[in-house]
């Protein structure tokens, strides 16, 4: 692992030397996120978002563990225990708003992280495993967020749980038994609430475990960079610490600014007012919508309105929604271009910025809106483009595109080819 010129861990303190002999944990950290990990020198701010996602997860774990001390996972009192947190628990309102908006921050950061990967071709060899583990983390995050949203036992919690577990009911033959098995009843009730709470507590730690694998897999080839050109010499890298710990520090500060803005000035801006109404199995809210980070997928789910062959529309929608994510697992083989970075791929770049990104934005808008005929029609076109982008457009682009010449090295990309353009010590 890592490059031959990586700094070696040489503790001068006798205590640290002793520890290094018995359990080399500090050495491990030093090599993973310290001065022992050489990183391309040209990373831009989009490379902050992996660390930011880690920060967001830690915020969720800390606030979540504390909230669990005050929350009662029992369907008759869950709603009031959340109100108890909001009104009676010292700083409870702050912890809950931080946890609820922290989830949104986590998704914002992870989506940018994923788009970074899509634009710069981070999913390409030799980093496919990093990409796949990242998608596993994304799926786990979605499951965790969904179950967390059910816990306050408001109207959206209840109906969200009903609609999402209802998706499994679309599976032929075994669908309904699976749905009953997932819920522990015929509709969301105490059994469902309890198991969702248990899993909502567990999964973040599973995510943490997969993050360790994700970073481990990343450190074998080392980080990618905006040119997509692999590291060739020591000149191309700088140690992670202090260079990128400092750069990430700037990102973390910006992250907490936006986070604080949400928590203190718009804590319910991203939420649904209906979730402040206690769950009522006999009255459906006028418009069941998931949290904003599920909107694009919800739009794809609702885009299927007619049966095709022998497959009912409902099952098609469910399959398409899951396919929208599973598709990304095949990306390393759908995009066969040898050039990684979108900077050097003029055609790819156009379809990325003017095709994929607006499509996902439109799907997001449609998923959050009431499903009128017009909205459904727009979602159908957008969903069609989404699949076409990955399954048709991307493979064709990879074959026909004339890419721009790549720099011969990262250093050349940074300093240019002018004579005398060599490394100078900082003054």
């Amino acid at each position: 692992m890592s490059f031959p010129w990586a700094n070696e861990y040489k503790p001068s303190n006798p205590l640290m030397r002793y520890l290094d002999e018995k359990l080399p944990l500090p050495r491990f950290v030093y090599n993973a996120v310290g001065a022992g990990y050489p990183v391309p020198r040209n990373l831009n701010y989009f490379w902050n978002f992996g660390v930011l996602a880690g920060v967001a997860l830690m915020v969720q774990i800390v606030t979540g563990v504390v909230l669990a001390m005050h929350f009662a996972a029992e369907s008759t009192v869950a709603f009031s225990s959340v109100e108890h947190i909001m009104r009676d628990v010292n700083a409870g309102w702050f912890l809950r708003y931080a946890h609820a908006n922290g989830a949104s921050m986590f998704f914002i950061v992870v989506y940018i992280h994923i788009f970074r990967g899509l634009f710069y071709g981070s999913y390409k060899p030799p980093r496919e495993m990093v990409w796949h583990l990242g998608l596993v983390i994304f799926l786990l995050m979605m499951a965790t967020a969904f179950m967390g949203y059910v816990l306050p036992w408001g109207q959206m919690s209840f109906w969200g749980a009903k609609v999402i577990t209802g998706l499994f009911g679309a599976i032929p033959l075994v669908g309904e038994p699976i749905q009953t098995w997932l819920l522990g009843g015929f509709a969301p009730d105490n059994a469902a609430l309890n198991r969702f709470f248990s899993l909502h507590f567990l999964l973040p730690f599973v995510i943490l475990g997969v993050i360790i694998l994700h970073v481990w897999a990343l450190h074998i080839p080392g980080s990618s960079n905006p040119t997509g050109v692999e590291v060739k010499s020591e000149q191309d890298t700088v140690p992670f610490h202090p260079y990128y710990t400092a750069k990430d520090g700037v990102g973390v500060a910006a992250f907490f600014l936006l986070f604080a803005l949400l928590v203190f000035f718009g804590p319910n801006f991203l939420g649904e007012p209906d979730n402040y109404i206690p769950a009522n199995p006999l009255a459906t809210p006028a418009n069941i919508v998931p949290e904003w980070y599920f909107w694009p997928f919800y739009a794809i789910l609702r885009a299927f309105t007619v049966d095709f062959l022998f497959i009912p529309a409902k099952l098609l929608g469910v399959l398409a929604m899951f396919a929208a994510i599973l598709l990304l697992f095949f990306l390393p083989w759908l995009d066969t271009s040898a050039v990684r970075s979108g900077h050097y791929r003029p055609l790819f770049r156009k379809f990325f910025w003017f095709g994929l990104i607006p499509t996902i934005a439109i799907l997001g808008y449609c998923g959050g809106s009431h499903a009128t005929d017009g909205i459904v029609l727009v979602s159908q076109f957008a969903a069609a483009y989404y699949f076409a982008h990955f399954l048709i457009i991307l493979p064709i682009i990879s074959r026909v595109e004339t890419t721009k010449p790549l720099p011969t090295s990262i250093t050349e990309a940074v300093l240019g080819t002018a004579p005398g353009a060599t490394l100078q010590p900082a003054e």
Binding site: G166, T180, G184, F186, A191, L282, A286, T305
Partner: protein, 191 residues
């Protein structure tokens, strides 16, 4: 590799009489199978605990008194923690349900299929849209009944007719008729 080769050589000579199968192979397979059976027998209760518990199943039937329900009126009650619609159809509603030819239906069922013999004025269905599980409107006083006069789901616009059959919108099936029986002329037991 060297040790592997010598091992197979040894075992080949040792196992010749038993057709190439060593005693140790048998022990390995037997031990792994035994552990496998053990793992499965422990996994079963771990999976089964997710199924509805006895108290949830105990609430699985509901009795309803029909005496007070006027023609044209629908009551909303609860069966298995889900809304249940009990509708007293008017003669006009029965006629409109019977007028439809089954070939035009997405989920072809006649009103007779969906009610008990001689009691076709009593339409008992789940109040759960077969699309994504919302509660359709049309049971309560003054609620929209949709363009086919039965129920209308506000979530994604599925319309049901006076036999609670799907006529328009994304829902794949008619509103489910739960298992039920008349215990007297004016009482039913659902479930």
């Amino acid at each position: 590799m060297e040790s592997m080769a010598s091992l197979t050589e040894d075992s080949a000579t040792a196992g010749e009489e038993q057709g190439g199968v060593r005693r140790r192979d048998f022990i390995n397979v037997a031990a792994a199978s035994f552990a496998g059976v053990g793992a499965v027998s422990v996994a079963l209760p771990l999976i089964n605990q997710m199924n509805p518990s006895a108290d949830v199943l105990a609430e699985a039937s509901t009795e309803i008194d029909l005496a007070a329900i006027q023609p044209g009126q629908t009551i909303k009650t609860i069966f298995r923690k889900q809304p249940l619609f009990v509708r007293h159809l008017t003669p006009a509603e029965i006629a409109s349900a019977e007028k439809v030819s089954l070939g035009d239906l997405r989920d072809p069922q006649s009103l007779e299929d969906r009610t008990k013999a001689g009691k076709k004025q009593w339409l008992i269905t789940m109040g759960v849209c077969t699309h994504l599980g919302c509660v359709p409107l049309g049971a309560g006083e003054g609620e929209v009944k949709g363009e086919f006069g039965g129920y209308f789901c506000p979530c994604h616009g599925s319309s049901y007719d006076t036999a609670a059959r799907i006529r328009k919108g994304p829902a794949p099936r008619n509103l489910e008729v739960p298992p039920y029986e008349f215990t007297s002329d004016t009482a039913v037991k659902v479930g």
